[in-house]
Symmetry: C2
Subunit: 243 residues, 2 copies
Amino acid sequence: MTNKSPTASLLIIGNEILSGRTQDKNLNYIAKGLGEIGIRFMEVRVVPDIHQTIIDTVNELRNTFDYVFTTGGIGPTHDDITTESISKAFGVEPKINDASYAKLEKYYKGELNEGRIKMAILPDGAIPIDNPISAAPGFYIENVYVMAGIPNVMQAMFDEVKGTLKHGSVLISKEIKAYTTESKISNPLSDLQDEYDNVEIGSYPFIEGSKIGVSLVFRSDDESALDECLAKMNVILNEQKAV
Amino acid sequence: MTNKSPTASLLIIGNEILSGRTQDKNLNYIAKGLGEIGIRFMEVRVVPDIHQTIIDTVNELRNTFDYVFTTGGIGPTHDDITTESISKAFGVEPKINDASYAKLEKYYKGELNEGRIKMAILPDGAIPIDNPISAAPGFYIENVYVMAGIPNVMQAMFDEVKGTLKHGSVLISKEIKAYTTESKISNPLSDLQDEYDNVEIGSYPFIEGSKIGVSLVFRSDDESALDECLAKMNVILNEQKAV
């Protein structure tokens, strides 16, 4: 597998995920979206609303991966501390972004208060990401993309920036659903993985009513190697059935 | 809020989460379970099936938090590398656990093969965690609890160990559903948060059909402070309605 594809990580900011109040839905959306454009999704972190934790984590991730996405904490209330924390991580001041201010003014028909103005404050140098749903923008600064936590707003923001990201080689994924057990196939599967180092083979047991089985997922950016590997796996499964 | 409650983190091991193939359901279950026994859930990481990444992350987390839970990667196939990685993180050898071997032998009616025996191999010194569903055990070693990735198996394992963990002070959570916007209440809410440093106030906007609103979540281990704070918030909301 090529190692030249860009890498990405996600930082989910929010006490509500760690308390169990909210089930995160953003990770999966972002994972699929990054896969479509060949960006390798390498790590996710979920952290609470604590300034220093956010600052340290953003700095670690942005120095490790090509892209960092964050979700949550960009609203107007006291527990929305993402913008302030990202500013500190980059050593810049948060300041009113004129374009975002104008959009919020239009959206609220001129009735801006302190809370609404807070949403136009971005780290100095950040570029706003449009929010087609409730006007409060996300933003990006260098390789860090800061998005809302509410899934439909997050999705709109992610879809907007997706086209601007560097693309990598897309991994093709093919799957065999085998009604067998992992322990029966683990040896030949391991040999097959050793033979094809450019195909990533994943084995995921499942239960369907009273039937058990294994989903075998083959991923590669080399489709002919993928198909060859898949064909060999089918031979192995048929041989086992014949025994 | 007391800082004496134990802390915990979760390490989700699995390419299938990062590829978007699988939507994780374990985080939320563990979050709720830890909340019930007063353990503060401080961080989650999701990492791919890469030995060194797992080793480094486990070592970082176990030195930072009282408990580390891991999910995924304990089956018999080549991509199940959790046991091997945890052994390396602790500098011990993986070896057959006699009790787990006996259970697997019974479960498979004596028909053990290499793949099945692999599931009885634990880091030297680890204690098995029973798997009532498919016999392949989880385990714990010092403060690291290693569980399956399949949700119903993970839940059974987590429920089994839950009672043995150190308990902390349970945070009581109460919620006000307000049909207002965050920007209208952000100032008085921030003042209220400043007044009650032992109550954690979270503000989460929601959309219900054409109605928008804010869920205000108050959490504390001091119920009288919590109720006082909640009552003041209701006064603020009523005053705003009256304007």
